[in-house]
Amino acid sequence: MSTELPAWPAEVDLDRGRAYLRDMLRVRRFEEKAAEVYQAGHIHGFLHLYIGEEAVAAGALPELRAEDAVFATYREHGHALLRGVSAGAIMAEMYGKAEGCSRGRGGSMHLFDAARRFYGGSAIVSGALPMAVGLALADKLLGVPGLAACFFGEGAMAEGAFHESLNLAALWHLPVLFICENNLYAMGTALAVSHARTDLAARAASYGLAAEAVDGMDVLAVAQAVAHATRAIREGLGPHFIECRTYRFRAHSMFDPELYRSKEEIEAWKARDPITTFAARLRAHGWLDDGAMAALEAEVAGEVAAAVAFAEAGSPEPVAALLEDVYA
């Protein structure tokens, strides 16, 4: 890493710059709290944290509009939050409460908010890609504006569903934004153990769609790439693929002893923490000082605390409601 900071992009003003920081911090603190309450026994099942990868969601989601649809994975708390689902509704979902954004049916891996066109929360790796293609097809056939953004890990690219989806999107020229969160591991399987060809953007481009790779630890780089891609998609130029090169700082889930990577590797990536590096840039640019940072932290802490309080105050779904929501 060079110690010299890249030039500040002109289109990012003070508000936007601070908003990126706030978004990343909201995700980080939310995830930390989730881990804490999980350890305390309030959340169960699987819990996959996004810590380290915040720049991807924080860079991407502001570029999406209300009419766009979002599909994500089981590592999606941050995406839901930044799409506008309240921290309380997410936390309550993880507590399994009726006030949760999926009424306690889904849990951590299945956050939904149809009003915000946030369609999950999908726990079969690569399972959402074909749906994103279909949603974009609906937009196209209905003649409405909007695109379908789909987040997935680099591990998912080995699945047949990835292949079929990219071909369909390119073949039918659909408004789909594929965002690959390449955090270098699929559980314990490193990129090079999964993929014969590790240049993922090149692989995607082979389907005949626009594809590029960006530094997924740099929120501005992600934002810029997504802005460019969404503009192209909205202009009718067809699907677009962005590989965001990032890293997960925590274990895959709460059950992972992390035998497959070294402490040194993790530390090296932590030195590129998307939040601290971005905060440093804001400071260097004169848009952040200790006071502003403390205020931001306090604001975010308040939001997270309120979310926990909301979740704890929530009510469990009655067992009598067991058979609800099976058929529409």
Partner: protein
């Protein structure tokens, strides 16, 4: 008006597409080829390539795309060519189509219709002769139906398109040529009830889909032997109309279930269990099953015939059940 089962399916699709711009058909060779079983023949010419959408060989992908399109406000009909290829798409059907409504706490509906040909009997050998209706009928969140008549081929598809849930329709490949009557103003059929296709007093023959003609034939032969068989067509395989089945068997006190699927863990087992749970004390004999033999369906004609349920086997099984009267 008299038409074939194949034409009845086509008519239901065309009517829906003319009426509702959200309806479209997607699948392998539905367009330019005219449909693997000629079901959609001519529709490409009327509706064009956007709405009669030829899909690549990507069952998982285009079934998933159908789910996404349904979420996005369309009313897709996805044709899976045959049940044999549906295995490739099962993950999307089960883990997305069936579960999304529930996992989202009721927020997301998936008004998707999936049609597929099913069954054996044409010497297509093991990979092309599956009957896996039972697998789909196992899954909460799906509705599963098997039209066995020309009227149902039309009406159940029309009804499926009005249903807010994912509906899987099984069309037995031997039924496509079946002829029948359909009124010009035929509307949607019910997607709830089983139908008594032939009333009778002595024994209930319970079946569905491609086995209905064989079962009716068996009933006719039984009549010659003095046995008055009632034939119940399940029509809807999930959720099952247990009331109709139980009412029939409470009356006849005997039952034979006919199902082209393999016997073990097949749909017939569920019908037997339903009868036992709901009408045990009304039964004069154990319900019997006539199913496919426990073997991959062989190519050679005599072996295939021996592997599948046949009218003669149904007759013999029914006679044995009736003979069991104490």
């Amino acid at each position: 008006m008299s038409l074939t089962y194949r034409e009845a399916v086509r008519r239901a699709m065309c009517e829906a597409m003319r009426r509702d711009p959200r309806v479209f058909l997607m699948g392998e060779d539905v367009g330019r080829y005219g449909g693997c079983y000629a079901v959609s023949l001519g529709m490409f010419q009327e509706f064009g390539p956007e709405r009669i959408r030829d899909a690549p060989l990507s069952e998982l992908g285009f079934v998933g795309a159908g789910i996404g399109a349904a979420i996005g406000g369309m009313r897709p009909i996805v044709e899976l060519m045959t049940v044999n290829f549906s295995l490739l798409a099962l993950d999307q059907v089960v883990n997305n189509a069936a579960l999304l409504h529930h996992m989202s706490g009721g927020q997301v509906a998936v008004p998707l219709v999936i049609r597929m040909a099913t069954g054996a009997g044409r010497q297509l050998a093991a990979q092309h002769s599956h009957s896996l209706e039972v697998w789909y009928a196992h899954v909460p969140g799906l509705k599963v139906a098997a039209p066995a008549t020309v009227a149902d081929a039309h009406g159940m598809l029309a009804a499926a398109l009005e249903d807010p849930n994912p509906v899987i329709l099984f069309e037995h490949m031997l039924l496509y040529g079946l002829e029948g009557e359909l009124p010009d103003d035929a509307g949607p059929a019910d997607l709830v009830h089983a139908a008594v296709r032939r009333p009778g007093r002595d024994i209930s023959l319970i079946t569905y889909g491609g086995s209905l003609p064989k079962t009716l034939e068996a009933a006719a032969r039984l009549a010659e032997r003095g046995v008055d068989a009632e034939v119940v067509d399940l029509r809807v395989l999930r959720p099952l109309d247990t009331a109709t089945i139980l009412a029939s068997v409470r009356k006849t006190r005997r039952a034979v279930v006919v199902d082209e699927g393999w016997k073990t863990c097949g749909l017939a087992a569920e019908i037997v269990a339903t009868l036992v749970e709901g009408a045990f004390y009304d039964l004069d004999a154990p319900p019997a099953r006539v199913c496919s033999a426990e073997v991959p369906i062989p190519y050679a004609r005599q072996l295939e015939e021996a592997a599948l349920p046949q009218a003669a086997t149904i007759v013999a099984t029914a006679l044995a059940a009736v003979g069991a009267r104490v």
